[in-house]
């Protein structure tokens, strides 16, 4: 039914794909647009692996119809890295702290953490726990993930103070 050309603004670039109304945003991002960093796990809104930012806020792309996300500002994990290839401080901190094991939750964790740090650049440990409460990790036990986010927050704030 009703095939149409969908237009998506992903990581600042406009991408088009042939979509149908029943397609989920996560499937369009992964299979039509080819950005496979975003993961699909529970597809029920319980695990956060599929987290992307829409208009700056984390949403489950597995519960979002692609058709409703058109022409909105979407960010995925592929958009975190700078244009020159340098990793985002959060990505670097995840590496430094070994905060990723199997990696299935990592993209979602990074996106939730990105939204958290944009809203609250100096979070406490509690703030991070709350900010990531919708993201499940079956490997790490969370401690390293929270350490990494706190470390990245410090580095981002410090870098901003140097340039200011």
């Amino acid at each position: 039914m009703a095939r149409q050309i969908g237009s998506f603004k992903i990581n600042g670039r406009v991408r088009e794909a042939i979509i149908e109304p029943q397609m989920l945003l996560v499937d369009v991002i992964r299979e039509k647009i080819g950005l496979t960093g975003t993961k699909r796990a529970c597809a029920s809104g319980n695990c956060g692996a599929c987290t992307v930012l829409v208009e700056g806020l984390p949403v489950c792309s597995c519960l979002t119809l692609a058709i409703t996300a058109q022409n909105k500002d979407i960010r995925t994990v592929e958009g975190l890295r700078a244009a020159d290839g340098e990793l985002h401080p959060l990505q670097q901190a995840f590496i430094d702290h070994c905060a990723s094991q199997c990696g299935f939750c990592t993209a979602g964790m990074l996106m939730s953490a990105t939204a958290l740090l944009e809203a609250n650049p100096r979070p406490t440990r509690d703030d991070v726990n709350r900010g990531l409460s919708g993201n499940v990790c079956r490997c790490t036990g969370y401690v390293k993930i929270v350490d990494a986010v706190l470390d990245a927050a410090q580095k981002i704030v410090a870098a901003r103070e140097v340039t200011a």
Binding site: S44, V54, G134
Partner: protein, 306 residues
């Protein structure tokens, strides 16, 4: 895990009349944030031929929160908008707490409050808190509006009082009395099977007299125990006129535990769930009263409202 949703038509009308006309057809359904609908379609529990998005309809996006005039929001208002609002936190604390404890937090950015209510899912939290605040549901059919107290909104399991050709346009939550407070709490265990009854929630509203010694008004609601939240009218009556103290809340909680026969999936669970109800009822009343005691007249900071 089913991977695909059966195909449907997706329409985005711009007026209430158009939306209701399109949704009245067999197999059509109103669509707001979509989290509830997408999940149940993906699971194959429901199937629709046409979804009618109300997110582009004019006049449904209003949002106003004023300590003296009340809280009012349209059908398009996402949960996030309420979560971020200082007056909701200060004056409608039970609603605020229910929102804060939504899991996962992503849902706040996706779902609408009205969609949460209209889903009529017995274990959702926002209806329980809005019972405590005595919310009023505004229902429109494109021509006229009618108002319904939230107590009359649910008429059975997963069934609302909405007629064919009607929708919820907005919700009005009256302002609390000057010396009043409210609270929401829930207890849940991990679900082992998908049909496990895993949760009980409770909300209370307590208003005190000017000396903050006597209870002048109270609402006590227990949710996730049946098809819809239950107001414990007997406890509310007993509380009115009593001195605001621990004994009053204990007695009211005892009444609540006796009044509700929670649905259960196993005999031994019933005892536990009744105890949960007692604890929750006691704690929400105590917390609501404590908030009532610690606040000052909202008129003093009403100028900050906008």
């Amino acid at each position: 895990m089913g991977r695909v949703i059966q195909p449907f038509e997706f329409v985005e009308p711009s007026t209430i009349d158009e939306a209701l006309g399109l949704a009245a057809a067999e197999g059509s359904r109103l669509f707001a944030g979509g989290c509830e609908l997408v999940l149940s379609m993906r699971r194959g529990e429901v199937r629709y031929r046409r979804l009618v998005s109300i997110m582009g309809v004019g006049g449904l996006g209003g949002f106003r929160a004023h300590p003296k005039h009340g809280l009012e929001f349209g059908a398009q208002v996402k949960i996030r908008q309420l979560a971020n609002h200082i007056w909701v936190g200060k004056r409608w604390a039970a609603l605020h707490e229910a929102i804060e404890q939504l899991h996962p937090p992503h849902i706040m950015n996706m779902g609408t409050v009205v969609g949460n209510l209209c889903s009529a899912v017995p274990y959702y939290d926002l209806p329980t808190s809005l019972y405590a605040h005595r919310a009023v549901i505004r229902i429109g059919d494109g021509r006229s509006d009618r108002e319904l107290p939230i107590d009359d909104f649910y008429i059975g399991p997963r069934m609302t009082a909405l007629g064919r050709g009607e929708m919820v346009t907005s919700i009005f939550v009256p302002p609390p009395l000057a010396d009043a407070g409210s609270a929401f709490k829930k207890i849940y265990k991990a679900r082992r099977r998908s049909n496990d009854l895993h949760k009980i929630n409770a909300a209370a509203y307590v208003a005190l007299d000017a000396d903050k010694e006597t209870i002048v008004d109270a609402t006590l609601v227990i949710g996730s125990v049946g098809a819809k939240p239950v107001r414990i009218a007997k406890a509310e009556t007993v509380l009115r006129g009593q001195s605001a103290g621990h004994a009053a809340y204990e007695a009211a909680a005892e009444i609540a535990a006796k009044a509700v026969e929670p649905m259960t999936d196993a005999a031994w669970v019933e005892e536990i769930r009744s105890e949960w109800i007692r604890l929750l009822a006691r704690d929400v009343l105590e917390q609501a009263a404590s908030r009532a005691r610690s606040r000052h007249d909202p008129a003093e900071d009403a100028h900050l409202a906008f």
